[in-house]
Symmetry: C2
Subunit: 422 residues, 2 copies
């Protein structure tokens, strides 16, 4: 690999090379793209020693820099995780190619044939934290959707990502696609991320994945169009008629199954007429799972094994075994609370009242609104997309779990026979 | 009308009121929204004298401020134009309501029922130039799609817009919708536009319409997600096999029918093997229509009645009776020229070669790519959308002519019966 040559490129040169690669990718057949993905999956297996060595270097640096245990875990790659990664790449290969899909079309009265077809964005930039599995996931989703991708991973994973991108590049070149289809710009550090956000015309869309502060920085500073994948201050509302069993199970599953992810429950709202009936069993179950309860006065008067909730609790995405609990007088107040504090990710109502269910679905303005289901279902895999780029909490372009088609744009094809406008 | 009360509101108060109005609009039925549109159409007719008086004040100010004749024309409203505006509002009322449309959905193996439904954005901001017809068009499209709208029109139309918005507000209140559904923020001047661009959380999407510099300012400065409606450096390529009659008619129509709009032709490319055959009749026809020809050396050697083209000509959206002309050796060079200079709006190839037609459609990355048709067809009305918000030249969310559905987002509805994630 000509690593020295690559390292001497400027960021703009890399982005220009990505643009050139995107032209080949845009017209690559699904067969060629799938062959490249199979090659990547095989190459990850073949080069596992080299990848793990680089990862161990990052982990050692992480320990020296007091990286948290959680962060170290997300950074770590081992044979088992690499095998899962290869498997994930093969799953992406098995998905239907979104490029070329006819979205809509018609023949106009004057004979013009109009077709809106799905096309790749071109060059996608992704800024994310020190999770090397994201490097492989995003690279395969971008390739499958015909996009060149420019990756800026967390600096704590820099060695791992450099090796992973080398392995990916070798593999896709074997399959006949340009090496520049997948590039990392980690070597430019924070300046690279900043420059990426200014690269209008070279980068078509920028996707930040990670902490709320990372996403907020990209959203407010980027001059390139952004798809915001967002934080989740997620709510469950136990309505007056909520089934006790469902309430216990859904709240437990929403909060405890994987508290560190964005679709986990943060705030439990309960109708005052159901508080005495539901809070004791629901909260007892959470306590038994080690969840700390931050409750308002009404809830504390019913369930004493809790701490007082502060205003800050309502706005906090804990990402930990903590939950805030509030008793509300009615559905309206529940919806008002959600409007005020939600990040518009996922909210669920537990109810047997049809009218209240429909009002909740209609009036709560979040990417995913649910009746009688766990908030943990907001996920590309669960939705049947096969793979997930992230979960969009913005309203432009994509909302909720983003699969392959959310990595595409469209263009209009017009076929005529000499028509002019009257 | 409580004009004084309105005038004392701050911009943030107005945006907050728009947000509150958007909640009512989001769940308003099509019947109610259509009644509001009919009321607007009627109110424009009923108040035509008041509107025209305000418009005459703006026109007088425009003359004092040396507003160009073209700008004065776009600013002018008379009885006939008001009647057309009312008619356009009734046409929007006749369109299908996009809100509530099921985009896709499925029942998952665990019984969860997923539906992606179309919902309004919420609050849409529009920044545009001194064209009062845009005020009415955008207000009706926003209402029909369930959005509250905040309008910042050109200051030269401030009196007209103030009266128009008053008339619209009175009408929609009669129909039972909040007055704050449609608001102008013209009274805040340039500061208002700047504040609007910073209003994340209060405004869901911002649409700039107008000059390239206006659009560029909004795109680079806005922290609110933007849909870019773009400038058009539009190309027609006459391939070696182009039909002479089609070439003459399509180039004439693309350039001359309405030179001041974004889908008008700016640069004509011609295959060198067809230049001697096609340039004389095609350019003679343009000259007869008063078009000034800016030609490269090869084209000038064939058609002398022209001025030399400069590098700047290739990047210029003339919006006037000017065209730049270049002879290219082949299709590849035509595509390269378009890649380099196009604003990715509309490009058309005139050809009888099937392979070249398909390559042009596949490799030219513009919102609309055409074979053997006039570029003037890139238009929401022509595409059968009934009405047009603008033409998007970005790749995120909407591309090409934007109709009602492009003013919407979606949300996912999940209906369960106690499901939790395994």
């Amino acid at each position: 690999m000509p690593e020295t040559a690559v390292a001497t490129r400027t960021l703009v040169e890399k982005l220009t090379a990505a643009r050139a690669a995107s032209l080949a990718l845009a017209t690559a057949t699904a067969d060629v793209k799938n062959a490249a993905l199979e090659a990547i999956a095989a190459a990850i297996g073949r080069n596992s020693r080299q990848i793990i060595d680089a990862n161990e270097l990052d982990l050692a640096n992480g320990r020296d820099n007091s990286l948290s245990i959680g962060m170290q875990d997300r950074l770590r790659l081992d044979e088992g995780r690499l095998e899962s990664l290869s498997q994930a790449v093969r799953l992406v290969a098995a998905l239907v190619d979104p490029v070329g899909e006819n979205v809509r079309g018609q023949t106009l009265p004057n004979g013009l044939q109009l077709t809106e077809v799905r096309v790749p964005f071109g060059v996608v930039g992704v800024i994310y934290e020190a999770r090397p599995n994201v490097t492989v996931d995003i690279a395969s989703l971008a390739l499958k959707s015909g996009n060149a991708v420019v990756l800026r991973g967390g600096s704590a994973a820099e060695n791992t990502n450099r090796v992973l991108v080398s392995v990916i590049q070798e593999a896709i070149v074997l399959a006949g696609l340009p090496a520049d289809s997948v590039q990392t710009i980690d070597e430019f550090g924070r300046d690279g991320a900043r420059e990426l956000m200014q690269a209008r015309g070279l980068v078509d869309v920028l996707i930040p994945r990670g902490s709320a502060s990372l996403i907020n920085t990209v959203v407010t500073e980027s001059k390139v169009p952004v798809i915001e994948t967002g934080a989740g201050v997620v709510h469950v509302f136990l309505d007056e008629s909520a089934d006790e069993r469902w309430s216990i199970d859904i709240v437990e599953n929403s909060k405890v199954q994987r508290p560190s992810v964005c679709n986990a429950l943060e705030t439990l709202l309960v109708h005052e007429a159901a508080a005495e009936r539901l809070l004791p069993p629901v909260l007892a179950k959470l306590r038994a799972s080690g969840v700390a309860i931050h409750a308002d006065d009404r809830a504390r008067s019913i369930f004493a094994d809790s701490v007082p909730a502060t205003e800050e609790d309502w706005t906090t995405e804990y990402m930990s075994l903590d939950v805030s609990v509030r008793v509300v007088p009615n559905l309206d107040e529940a919806i008002d609370h959600i409007r005020r504090y939600s990040t518009h990710h996922t909210e669920s109502i537990i109810t047997n009242d049809l009218g209240n269910a429909e009002r909740f679905l209609a009036e709560v303005d979040s990417a995913v609104v649910m009746v009688n289901a766990s908030t943990r279902f907001t996920d590309g895999g669960e939705f049947g997309f096969g793979a997930e780029v992230g979960i969009s909490t913005q309203k432009l372009h994509a909302r909720g779990p983003m699969g392959l088609s959310e990595l595409t744009s469209t263009k209009w094809i017009v076929r005529g026979s000499g028509q002019v406008r009257q």
